[in-house]
């Protein structure tokens, strides 16, 4: 199964795209290139404009201003039924009066394709629903309906396949399964997938590139590993995974490192990992990058950043233990520690938390807290 007839896979370009509903700006001057053949995730909380962006690409919503380009072709003003773009809707939107076969054949028939049987059967095979061809959508489970929705869109060999929270209605186990399934299908057909989701884990598992959206703008974009390792805004640091953050100010440099003093303690971090080189900033570190030791331990490497605190909560989850530690200045930090040894820290224990400077990141303090 390769993308043969129909459209070639092309880059999708959004240029200065704006959509406002009255006074509310849903999408705020968005410029974005989605490379051909990539699995692209638009990640953000509800109301951040990700679905509106998707609907503009599909042609179901008209941009207030800006252009949408598919390859070199400007499709901004093209009617949705003429665009080489297909959508997997959040609610699937399968036609209840047509059977699965006819649902999948719908797009082909509209474009006047004569012999649809072979293609439809191939596509049903791809999503493993061959025996269900003559059932009605209502007779299928959520996961099966979801696969029909994917098949119905993909059979048209779209230049871009849009997926609007396609797994939102499925239970956790099925969602995991479908994540793998969708990834496999994308590998197989090679079409560009643009996946809208509010589930950060889903975005990280599936996408090559994740764009984190907030209030109509893209906060950060890149491969999941890079964004996770080096978030550039406090919003990203908290929305994509968890972060421990502390406010401080730059007090000096040492080599390639910045020295930040915060509540009496002093931390170092590589200056290229900080958004700011002077003044006030937030420093952050991911919970699994932290090590936790008894307060009197002498095992803390000298170069490590360290702070002391008291254990306020410890949840044992089998492979790891999640600690909450109250720092001396009253913040609670989260630490994930793998259970390599059997002796765990107890509630109320005085501990020292430490981590390597290169795991630290520096962020701008967000306006308004």
């Amino acid at each position: 199964m390769t993308v043969a007839q129909g459209s070639e896979v092309q880059d999708l370009n959004l240029v200065d795209l704006v959509k406002s509903f009255g006074d509310f700006v849903a999408v705020d001057d968005l410029t974005l290139t989605i490379p051909a053949g990539s699995f692209f995730a638009l990640l953000g909380p509800s109301g951040c404009g990700k679905t509106t962006t998707l609907r503009m690409v599909a042609g179901l919503e008209e941009p207030t201003s800006g252009r949408i380009m598919l390859g070199t072709q400007d499709i901004t003003d093209e009617k949705p039924y003429k665009r080489q773009v297909n959508t997997v809707f959040q609610s699937y939107a399968l036609f209840p009066h047509l059977d699965i076969f006819e649902n999948v054949a719908f797009g082909l028939r509209r474009r006047g394709v004569k012999n649809v049987d072979a293609q439809v059967n191939d596509m049903l095979e791809l999503v493993e629903l061959g025996p269900m061809a003559r059932r009605k959508p209502a007779q299928l489970s959520g996961g099966q309906q979801q696969r029909v929705a994917v098949a119905r869109a993909l059979i048209n060999h779209p230049g871009v396949l849009l997926l609007d929270e396609p797994l939102g209605a499925l239970d956790l186990k099925l969602r995991r399964q479908m994540q793998i399934e969708l990834k496999r299908i994308q590998d197989e057909v090679g079409t560009t997938f643009v996946h809208v989701t509010h589930d950060q884990e889903e975005a990280m598992t599936m996408a090559d590139t994740v764009a984190v959206m907030n209030k109509g703008r893209i906060e950060q974009m890149g491969p999941p590993v890079d964004i996770y390792d080096l978030p550039r805004t406090a919003f990203v640091a908290n929305f994509l995974g968890q972060s421990n953050l502390a406010q401080g100010s730059v007090s000096g440099t040492s080599g390639d490192n910045l020295v930040v003093s915060s509540s009496g303690a002093s931390f170092t971090l590589p200056s290229e990992r900080s958004v700011r080189q002077d003044g006030d900033l937030l420093i952050g570190v991911r919970p699994e990058k932290l090590a936790i030791d008894a307060a009197d331990a002498d095992t803390v490497p000298d170069r490590h950043n360290r702070l002391s605190g008291k254990v306020t909560d410890a949840s044992f989850t089998g492979v790891s233990t999640q600690y909450l530690v109250m720092t001396t200045w009253g913040d609670e930090w989260i630490i994930f520690e793998q259970n390599r040894s059997a002796d765990l820290h107890q509630l109320g224990d005085e501990v020292v938390i430490h981590w390597a400077p290169e795991h630290t990141f520096g962020l701008e303090i967000p306006a308004g807290g």
Binding site: A58, G59, L60, Y81, T87, R110
Partner: protein
């Protein structure tokens, strides 16, 4: 049928110990049916049986008095004498139904998909005519369609009226029927259209359907239950109506309802009137049966 299956199977899907509860629930259901059944029995079944026996009665020496008999020929006589009225009834009702569908569909579509916050108000306006008497409203049409009225004058100026007038012609009767039964078309159509998920229309556009194709392939098939219900609710009462033909038509435009009415109340020929009623009922039932079969929606009625 598929729509019935889950409701029927769900009690048995429950845990077995709940069986007595199920039985109690069933008994309550039957108890609740009693008033309706009584009503149907007293005001529908008994009169219907009595009407049937009347339709077979034979005349006596005294005019207006009939005796019990099995005079099947009453039916033949009624048909022979009144077949033009039957044909007129079904033709007028048929045209009125088609007209009502053509008028009601866009309106119901608009109310369902585009009316927004005006939806409730528009539905009230659809039902509003019921606040005035049916007779009165039909009478009002005599003024609207009168020979000196604006409408007749306008069409006469264009030489579009074969008889030079609208009132007391079949056109007026059909217009009256269309007007009077229009709400019965709009409401079921609205109910069916309102249930359609607008995302299905978006999905069809996304899948290369032009607006006209989206209508033909998605909206129309999904609205069919409303079309079937609306056409039945319009056609059946329109076919039996006599008020419109009486008030708006000429004597030559009389429908079968008029024949039944005059036989009952003027000629006091009860057997013929009853036979006409039964023939009308039989024809309508046959038509409805064939129609629903053709529409392929027997599980929706």
């Amino acid at each position: 049928m598929p729509s019935l299956a889950p409701t029927l199977s769900s009690p048995s899907a429950g845990a077995p110990p709940a069986a007595s509860g199920v039985r109690r629930r069933t008994r309550t259901a039957y108890l609740l049916l009693i008033p309706g059944l009584l009503w149907l029995g007293i005001f529908f079944v008994i009169p219907l049986v009595s009407l049937f026996f009347t339709s077979l009665q034979a005349p006596t020496d005294k005019a207006g008095v009939y005796q019990p008999a099995l005079q099947v020929s009453n039916y033949l006589v009624a048909l022979q004498e009144y077949w033009p009225q039957f044909i007129r009834s079904f033709v007028y009702a048929g045209i009125a139904t088609v007209l009502a569908l053509v008028i009601a569909y866009p309106l119901a579509y608009f109310i369902a998909f585009r009316a927004g916050k005006w939806k409730a108000l528009m539905l009230v306006l659809v039902v509003a005519p019921f606040f005035a008497s049916f007779l009165l409203r039909t009478y009002a049409w005599r003024t609207i369609l009168s020979d000196e009225g604006a409408i007749t004058t306008f069409f006469n100026a264009l030489h579009l009226l074969p008889q030079g007038r609208i009132l007391n012609t079949p056109i007026a009767v059909v217009l009256g029927l269309t007007y009077n039964f229009l709400p019965f078309m709009i409401l079921p159509l609205f109910a069916a259209l309102d249930k359609i998920d607008p995302r299905l229309i978006e999905a069809s556009k996304d899948l290369y359907a032009k607006p006209s194709t989206a209508f033909r392939k998605v909206i129309w098939p999904l609205s069919l239950p409303g079309v079937v219900a609306g056409t039945l609710l319009t056609f059946i009462p329109a076919a039996g109506d006599y008020i419109n033909a009486t008030l708006l038509g000429a004597p030559g435009d009389r429908m079968v309802g008029n024949a039944i009415q005059t036989n009952f109340l003027q000629f006091r020929d009860y057997p013929t009137a009853s036979a006409l009623s039964f023939i009308l009922m039989a024809i309508i039932l046959t038509l409805v049966f064939v129609y629903i079969r053709r529409a392929g929606t027997e599980d929706l009625v």
